[in-house]
Amino acid sequence: MNTQKIKIQFTLNNQETIITTYPMKRLIDVLRDDLHLTGTKEGCGEGECGACAVFINGELVNSCLVPIIQVDGTIVSTIENFASDFELDRIQESFINNNGAQCGICTPGMILASSALLMKNANPNEQEIRTNLAGNLCRCTGYNKILDSVKEASKLIRKK
């Protein structure tokens, strides 16, 4: 990384953020190392597991594949933006109710992926949930309890 550092400006979890760093530095490293937002996890570093998922301009992306230069001028949202400690989001609540998180390392990514799905489709069937979560690997659950969590969240969202 012999290139010059550059200034990057973006909106992170509703806050204007400016950092000076190398253009090719991965978004995940900026989030975790520079900005101390460690809720975004690294499982593989190659775009396969979804543990590092974040939203950029409303799109779900794997932050281990995104050089920070691409983030300039965008709106980024991470798991830290989801709920304060006191008021859990309905998706998070459903994951707790249904044992959708076991070890918890895939969970932030799963919750973001579930939210991406439920924003598009508030009432997905089981196959649609499977398809939409296929980019998020979970080694603990066998996915049953994650599907149950998303279904319950979908119910809660529609009831609102």
Partner: protein, 732 residues
């Protein structure tokens, strides 16, 4: 007694909000990063280490075997596994040099500027080459351990038997694939010694390894578990290695050092499930009754003994399955090869030998013209009968009912495919899994666990058992609160810290809920009795009264702790020499069934339905228990038809998530889980261990279904589309 069987995961909130702190989420002031430089060859003698002069090495902390203050051996069962290569290299990827620096970029550049002068020696990579002593790479005969179990007289039984059938079955490596890679952080100062934070299953294994590594007294080493992102056995022995490396760097640097593996490195150098080769010869009568079983069970242990002998033991003790037979011989061996050591993976040898037995029974049934259900029904072991080790099973045991539950749920969903090229099939597997340590294991461990009352009236759990997603925190909180009759939110379940947590043994062997949970139940009763004796609570009390009593006691006497130590029940008898007796205090019993469809054009195998019925004593917490079973089955399906580790020079070369394929949400069916709760004599409230059980039967159930669909006989897993293609080409 009020039950809290619906208690939600107590650390759930921190996990869904992303605030749970895993090892890579921890940082310390002035912390360095570490990296490991490894052997490029599988076997040889290290002559020299070259440091490229283009790098200013004074900038780096450098550690080699020469820097080790104590013993260069990871203390496990046999003392043969070095932290760092001294002279002999026994597998590719073995650690030789450790580096630390503030800047990770500089670190990874520098790590490529170290080279080695090595006198290469010929290496061996297969069980056969090891048995045939193509090279002697360990001891006199490459054999880490062997067992011999004999019951009855098999030679006599084989003579004049109606039908004798012999076949060999194989299973290959499987990676645990916890989604959080391995890692540790170490810090050192003269006063306190070494402190390590790590993603790990067994704090006291790491503690033992580090006291030896530094020649430190017990108080000078402290191990603290960080939130652990999956383990499945993979974080049983290997964390001692990483913790040791981080600690050596921190000791030399006098600064904290973080050592986190990248996924590719983790896949290449950490332990995997032992590859196996099982040859089974059986004799049956006209009706299919088993008259004799002769089983040869072989494992590939890799380059060092590590946990192999106990993995072999469990595989051996499960090899004959849940079937009654008068004449059984089991011979087993685990052999050395020049690969990274294979280690613990959920099931611990049993999934390998059970795969062989469950495939074999289907093969025998087919060759004598009876159904897979029939051959099992005829041979199921029953209450009062004896296992291969002559253990008399004395509990309710009704395999027919497990089988019929599974079959009824399975058949209901069966739809005949409309497409001619899609063939569907059904397969079952019946099996058991011994809960807790084998034989006298628990007796020697003599685990201790306890609880402590805090000033604010809360109760803290003190034990070394770890949470890794399986639900230790929740189950312990539930057991203690049920025993004391107070709400679970009064129970604190901190991660183990060896400074205060007594050694409740490793978090392995499906023992945590059953064995340690029971110790906590005793400890809680002890604490209540103390308050009773002090006259602070009556026999019947309210929660408020109890909490008030705790506070008063604390004020008056300072501390209130209660511990309990495991004592083996008198009736459990085991002989380590002859391998005879009560191999396990109890077993979980199960029948799993799979329905698959196989596309004969694309060779794709899809599991359409999976049913798992098991007897596990009291189900403490249904959603947690189901989660364990479902997750284990997903791993078992992966073992059977997805996860192929490709090895070259003794190491995994498809070492990424792109090439090593674990099942996604799209690859799995809904898994249907049914519990029977017959025998409640064991753990807290009557629970048995369940953690490993689901891995044992899921692989063979799926492969038996594939065999049923196509009338073929797969004998090796993983069984991928290319393997199916080869078998079908062969049949043409």
């Amino acid at each position: 007694m009020k039950k809290f069987s619906n208690l939600r995961r107590v650390e759930g909130k921190s996990k869904v909000t992303g605030t749970a702190l895993f090892i890579d989420d921890l940082n310390f002031p002035d912390m360095l990063h570490g990296i490991t430089v490894r052997s490029p060859v599988a076997r040889g003698i290290l002559k020299k280490i070259h440091f490229d002069p283009s790098i200013n090495w004074n900038d780096f902390v450098i550690v080699t075997a020469k820097d080790i203050p104590g013993q260069n051996i990871i203390h496990l069962i046999k003392e043969d596994w070095p932290f760092l290569v001294g002279e002999r290299i026994n597998h590719k990827g073995e650690a030789i040099v450790l580096l630390a620096h503030h800047d990770q970029q500089k670190l990874s550049e520098a790590s490529t500027k170290i080279s080695f002068e090595i006198e290469t020696l010929p290496a061996i990579f297969t069980i056969d080459d090891s048995i045939n002593k193509k090279e002697i790479i360990w001891g006199d005969d490459n054999c880490f351990k062997k067992y011999y179990i004999n019951k009855g007289d098999i030679d006599l039984a084989f003579k004049d038997a109606f039908h004798v059938f012999e076949q060999t079955y194989r299973t290959l490596h499987q990676e645990q694939l916890y989604i959080e890679p391995q890692g540790a952080i170490a810090a050192y100062n003269e006063l306190e010694g070494i402190t390590v934070w790590g993603s790990l299953q067994c704090p006291y294994y790491v503690h033992g390894a580090l006291t030896n590594l530094f020649n430190f007294s017990n108080e000078k080493v402290r191990i603290i578990q960080s939130e652990t992102g999956g383990a499945f056995g993979g974080k049983e022995d290997y964390p001692s290695m990483i913790a040791g490396h981080a600690a050596l760097l921190a000791y030399k640097a006098k600064k904290p050092v973080k050592l986190i593996y990248k996924r590719a490195e983790d896949l290449q150098v950490t332990t995997k499930r032992h590859p196996s080769q099982t040859t089974i010869k059986t004799a049956v009568d006209e009706g299919g009754k088993l008259l004799a079983m002769d089983i040869a069970f072989l494992l590939d242990g890799g380059a060092y003994a590590t946990l192999s002998e106990v993995v072999l033991s469990r595989g051996t003790l499960h090899a004959a399955g849940p079937y009654f037979c008068e004449n059984i011989r089991i011979k087993s061996k685990v052999m050395a090869t020049n690969s990274p050591p294979n280690g613990a993976f959920r099931g611990f040898g049993a999934p390998q030998s059970i795969f062989a037995m469950e495939r074999h029974l289907d093969n025998v049934a087919r060759s004598i013209g009876i159904t897979p259900e029939k051959i099992r029904t005829i041979n199921f072991i029953k209450r009062g009968q004896t296992t291969a080790t002559n253990q008399v099973l004395d509990e309710k045991l009704d395999f027919d009912s497990l089988l019929s539950t599974t079959l009824s749920k399975l058949k209901k969903d069966t739809k005949k495919s409309k497409h001619k090229h899609i063939k569907s099939g059904i397969g079952i597997a019946t099996f058991m899994h011994g809960a807790g340590f084998t034989g006298s294991g628990e007796k020697y461990l003599a685990s201790v666990a306890g609880i402590e009352a805090m000033d604010d009236g809360k109760i803290k759990i003190l034990c070394a058992s770890t949470e890794m997603g399986q639900g230790r925190n929740t189950i312990f909180a539930q057991v203690v609160s049920e025993t004391l009759g107070i709400d679970p939110h009064h129970i604190l379940t901190p991660a183990p810290d060896t400074l205060e947590a007594p050694n409740s043994g490793p978090t392995v062997a499906s023992r945590t809920s059953m064995i340690v949970g029971k110790l906590l139940e005793h400890a809680a009763n002890g604490l209540r009795n103390t308050l009773l004796a002090a006259g602070l609570i009556p026999e019947k009390y309210t929660e408020a009264k109890f909490i008030q009593a705790l506070k008063i006691y604390k004020k008056k006497y300072g501390t209130l702790k209660s511990f309990h130590q495991y004592k083996q029940p008198e009736h459990i008898k085991w002989d380590d020499q002859t391998y005879q007796g009560d191999a396990y205090p109890t077993f979980a019993w199960a029948c799993y069934g799979a329905q698959v469809s196989v596309n004969t054009l694309t060779y794709e195998i899809k599991v359409d339905n999976f049913v798992a019925t098991q007897e596990v004593g009291r189900v403490l917490n249904r959603k947690l228990a189901e989660g364990q079973i479902e997750g284990g089955i997903a791993q078992g399906i992966g073992f059977a038809i997805f996860e192929k580790a490709i090895f070259k020079d003794g190491v995994m070369i498809n070492n990424s998530f792109t090439n090593y394929i674990m099942p996604t949400a799209l690859d799995l069916p809904r898994i249907h889980v049914y519990f029977k709760e017959w025998n409640k004599d064991y753990g807290p409230g009557g629970a048995k261990g369940i953690g490993e059980l689901p891995l044992d039967g899921s692989g063979p159930a799926v492969i038996n279904a594939v065999a049923d669909a196509l009338n073929i006989c797969p004998d090796t897993i993983p069984y991928l589309p290319e393997d199916l293609m080869n078998d079908m080409e062969f049949l043409k």
